[in-house]
């Protein structure tokens, strides 16, 4: 019995005795709190792919921050934030004043932005820097980075609570929102800023590419388990946290790289949800049982 307990401890808890692993866990938990609900709204606005696009778009800003401030997190974060907002706003303007739709103009700007970012990074740093920015280093987080991630998730939750009602209404019935309040436009911009902020937080830990994973995958997985927006958001957060914990465990025990392990666990949960989900899952549809009386 005691042996079992010890084994349990060694397997599930002991890895987090290590400071770096513990910091990684804290980072992933904070990230999930902010990015989870943001990802849910991206999904419900059919903008899930936009997270990916924005993640690429913030790269030149990160690069400029890196060139100016060296490896300073705040310089890189601030640069990424500015770049993301510039791309989002430019894409929004082009979509409004020309016949081009927002997704197409966003695609154009993110490609330009990504290329610019890579040119800037390769001009100064070596390949190692590029790999670091693209794939992050969840086990190399210091206190400053943790503070930044925690601050961003705190701000996200606070702002989401503040704009919750108009944000939901803008998805459900934008005409009604326009008829009762002028909050629609500003709320959209604030939401885009939240997307960028959370991606910037994510790239510290997981890298630009995988930051999107923790935003998008928990949301789409959660959709298969609940019918109510609040429940979906809570589930997305829990799925993110659980994936972070499991991913880190797998990484510690197997020696695999941590960030991709985390995203792979999220991916596995997504696949499981598609198959077994209570709301619209594949098996549920195949074997729905006899129809009801009324």
């Amino acid at each position: 019995m005691q042996r079992d307990a010890l084994m349990f401890y060694n397997f599930f808890l002991a890895p987090f005795g290590d400071v770096a692993t513990r910091a990684a866990l804290i980072a992933v938990v904070s990230l999930s709190l902010g990015a989870g609900p943001v990802g849910v709204f991206l999904m419900l606005r059919r903008m899930s792919l936009m997270g990916d696009t924005m993640a690429h778009a913030i790269l030149p800003g990160v690069a400029v921050g890196f060139l100016v401030g060296g490896a300073d997190v705040f310089a890189m974060t601030f640069g990424g934030l500015i770049a993301g907002i510039i791309v989002a706003v430019l894409a929004g303007i082009v979509a409004r004043v020309t016949p081009l739709k927002e997704d197409a103009s966003l695609a154009a700007f993110f490609l330009i932005s990504l290329a610019l970012g890579l040119v800037l990074l390769s001009a100064r740093g070596g390949d190692a820097e590029i790999v670091h920015v693209l794939f992050g280093d969840v086990l190399g987080l210091d206190a400053r980075k943790l503070m930044l991630i925690a601050a961003i998730s705190t701000v996200s939750i606070f702002i989401l609570a503040l704009i919750w009602r108009p944000l939901v209404l803008e998805c459900v019935d934008p005409q009604f929102l326009r008829s009762v309040s002028g909050a629609g436009g500003p709320v959209h911009l604030v939401f885009l800023a939240l997307v960028v902020l959370n991606l910037v937080a994510g790239f510290q830990a997981l890298g630009t590419l995988l930051a999107v994973g923790l935003m998008t995958l928990p949301a789409v997985a959660a959709r298969f388990w609940a019918r109510d927006i609040s429940a979906i958001c809570v589930l997305a957060i829990l799925i993110g946290i659980f994936s972070g914990y499991m991913g880190l465990l797998i990484s510690v025990h197997s020696g695999a790289s941590a960030s991709p392990s985390i995203i792979l666990v999220t991916g596995a949960i997504y696949v499981g949800s598609v198959l077994f989900g209570r709301v619209g899952g594949v098996l549920r549809r195949l074997f729905q049982g006899k129809h009801l009386e009324a």
């Binding site: 108009p166 459900v172 019935d173 008829s179 009762v180 019918r227 109510d228």
Partner: protein
């Protein structure tokens, strides 16, 4: 009765082509007004112009003693994302926006009002249903419940009874009459002329130009209706600039 909404030589349209052409007239407080006309006559455009959703090409809409928040608007084929995971109760509850605003909580008094509104449209028991599972008629009832909560002085309904069965129409018309009894001003675009004759004291017949506006019996004459039908709906790509404006 004072004029609540005044149209002054109002022209509304898209890309300089008029959809409502030189309309003048006034909606009085407490009016129960039907806006009638063929498809493409400019009914929806007129409502959008009234609500400030599109800017006039010329002329103006003036309100006296009326704020934007005093007007409740039910658009035609409301652009509702029924896939969104939200239940009927929450959908109806946002009708209280004027008293709760962006952040205000929904208290016990509010809950009673919401339940009352849902009951008034006959949807008690459906509160927890996801909006995606409602039928067209149930959705329209839900939207009327939301209008009830908006408690607006002016209610604008754009073809509210399309794709809705007779029983639902009767129930919803009863609500419209209740609003009329409460001295609210109601403007509704409708195609069912019998319903207009039996329920709406005033009518506005539109066919891009104003055909007639007044007592329903005087407006919906065979002659006027024929005139409306013949008025050209064509959207002439090469139309010259309107000379009335120059005059």
């Amino acid at each position: 009765m004072t004029a609540l909404v005044q149209f002054r030589d109002l022209t509304l349209g898209y890309e300089r082509h008029p959809a409502v052409h030189h309309l003048s007239g006034a909606v009085k407080a407490g009016d129960l007004l039907a806006v009638v006309g063929p498809n493409g006559a400019g009914k929806s455009t007129l409502f959008k112009g009234m609500l400030g959703l599109i800017k006039p090409l010329s002329g103006s809409v003036e309100f006296s003693g009326l704020r934007r928040a005093d007007i409740a608007y039910l658009p035609q084929a409301a652009d509702i994302n029924a896939d969104f995971p939200i239940n009927l109760y929450d959908m109806v509850a946002v009708g209280l926006w004027r008293s709760t605003g962006l952040l205000g909580g929904i208290g016990r008094k509010h809950r009673a009002t919401i339940e009352h509104a849902i009951e008034a449209v006959g949807l008690t028991g459906f509160e927890e249903r996801a909006i995606g599972t409602l039928s067209a008629g149930q959705m329209q009832r839900a939207l009327f419940a939301r209008l009830l909560l908006q408690d607006a002085r002016v209610i604008v309904l754009d073809e509210p009874f399309n794709a809705v069965d007779t029983r639902t129409i009767n129930d919803l018309v009863a609500l419209v009459q209740r609003w009329h009894g409460e001295q609210r001003t109601i403007i509704a675009a409708l195609h069912d002329l019998d319903l207009v004759r039996t329920t709406f004291p005033d009518a506005l017949l539109l066919a891009r130009e104003l055909v007639a506006w007044g007592k329903t019996g005087d407006v919906l004459t065979a002659e006027n209706l024929l005139k409306a039908r013949h008025m050209c709906e064509a959207f002439d790509e090469d139309a010259a600039a309107c000379r009335v404006d120059a005059a």
